[in-house]
């Protein structure tokens, strides 16, 4: 057994788990956060994306034991409060989801993309950056729209905050 001690959405979590436990299993079964989904067993679909120490990773391709000592953010912790995060709000507004299975991973990937590219974000970049996230419903069009809109709104909000 491995002693895993990490921060999940700002809270300390400490548990003994089997060494082979994947981070996504740990989050879903031991921490009861079922937002990160498991959509494949080949590390290709991105439904499981969370942030580890501020970077988007596939939580199905990391052991919980590897994440010990890290700060993990899941879709449940993204908004940090009652209101939706701007990316969540944009997905709702632009109909960026249908069945919703890919959505937690899409949104965690999207916030990472916006963080890395900021104002330089354009459609081609969003599409290339979504390489590791598969959606079987939407055809991606509205997902891309939602991400671009959220990026411009977040940029606007950041400018207001800086003034």
């Amino acid at each position: 057994m491995a002693k895993v001690s990490l921060t999940v959405n700002g809270k300390n979590v400490e548990k003994d788990v089997e060494d082979r436990t994947l981070l996504v299993q740990f989050l879903r079964e031991d921490v009861n956060l079922t937002g990160a989904h498991i959509g494949c067993d080949t590390s290709q679909c991105g439904a499981c994306v969370v942030h580890v120490d501020g970077k988007a990773v596939k939580s199905c391709t990391m052991l919980a034991a590897q994440a010990s000592g890290c700060e993990v953010t899941t879709i449940e912790g993204l908004s940090g409060g009652g209101d939706l995060h701007p990316v969540q709000a944009a997905f709702r507004e632009h109909h960026g989801l249908q069945c919703g299975f890919c959505t937690p991973g899409m949104i965690m990937a999207a916030t990472d993309i916006i963080k890395r590219h900021g104002t330089k974000l354009d459609e081609a970049t969003v599409r290339a950056e979504l390489e590791g996230n598969i959606c079987r419903c939407t055809g991606y069009h509205n997902i891309v729209k939602a991400i671009l809109d959220a990026a411009s709104k977040m940029d606007g909000a950041a400018k207001v905050a800086a003034e």
């Binding site: 590390s43 990773v57 199905c60 052991l63 034991a65 950056e129 390489e131």
Partner: protein
């Protein structure tokens, strides 16, 4: 995934020690190849030795003509490194074409080289750049390192700690991606050294993994331009055939990718 035991090493010596005392140990870096393989039960190491907490094994340094990349440097870090983008832009670009952003955040150059997937990108670059692979025991020339499909010159328990190479006059990389897996169906790294010599590393196509296309090297050494390749042809006999592409199709792809790599070289 079968049961396994996770260990975190804090030094190379400790990693080697844990590995030596394990029944059937494996080093774990980014886990972007090893963990998917374990999930599919295609690998079942008794012990995993996590290398990522060992200090000093990651980062890029450019010192005059010499470029050195630590074995634990992630694809993302290679892609983003400013000094490397000046010293060897094609290599930095190439790292940004590996898999997807999440894979690049965790996957490492050392893990990719040790794995030597026949469609991986880094092996082609290492061959073309005439790189040296540094391990915890010795230095190995890229020409001697890649010994076959998923095979390298690494011995049991040997750890890739870094790679180094002399910066070149010009180099380029072009990859025809399998649209589903994002691995190369043919990827070509073309490099022209400062002494005028040319090396071409080809991945994704060879039956035995990565290889050099020597005929093109000679043609390009006397005339560094895509047109110089018009008279060269890749022999399809040693090339892979699978549901994605026949050997003859790959042979043509290699030529086309080589032309593009030469044209885009900077």
């Amino acid at each position: 995934m079968y049961d396994t035991k996770y260990h975190r090493a804090s030094s190379l010596d400790e990693a080697a020690k844990i590995f030596a005392s394990a029944d059937d140990g494996a080093f774990l870096s980014g886990g972007q190849t090893l963990l998917p393989t374990m999930k599919q039960r295609l690998a079942a190491p008794s012990d995993l030795v996590d290398l990522t907490h060992i200090d000093g094994l990651s980062g890029v340094s450019v010192d005059g003509d010499t470029v050195k990349i630590g074995g634990l440097t992630t694809h993302y870090e290679v892609n983003q490194d400013n000094a490397l983008s000046k010293a060897c832009p094609a290599l930095a670009r190439m790292a940004g074409w590996i898999g997807d952003p999440q894979v690049r955040h965790r996957g490492t150059i050392g893990g990719s080289l040790a794995n030597n997937d026949p469609a991986a990108d880094y092996p082609a670059a290492m061959l073309a750049l005439n790189a040296t692979i540094h391990t915890n025991k010795r230095e190995i020339a890229a020409d001697d390192f890649f010994t076959g499909m998923f095979e390298t010159a690494l011995e049991e328990g040997e750890i890739v700690t870094a790679v180094s190479f002399k910066s070149v006059d010009k180099c380029g990389y072009e990859k025809f991606r399998n649209p589903a897996s994002r691995y190369a169906m043919a990827g070509v790294f073309a490099a022209k050294a400062k002494d005028g010599s040319v090396r071409i590393g080809v991945t994704g196509a060879g039956d035995d993994g990565v290889f050099r296309w020597t005929e093109a090297e000679e043609a390009l050494a006397s005339n560094w331009s895509a047109d110089a390749l018009d008279s060269c042809d890749v022999d399809s006999s040693g090339l892979m055939s699978d549901i994605h592409a026949s050997a003859a199709y790959r042979a043509n792809l290699v030529k086309v990718m080589t032309k593009r790599a030469v044209s885009s070289a900077d």
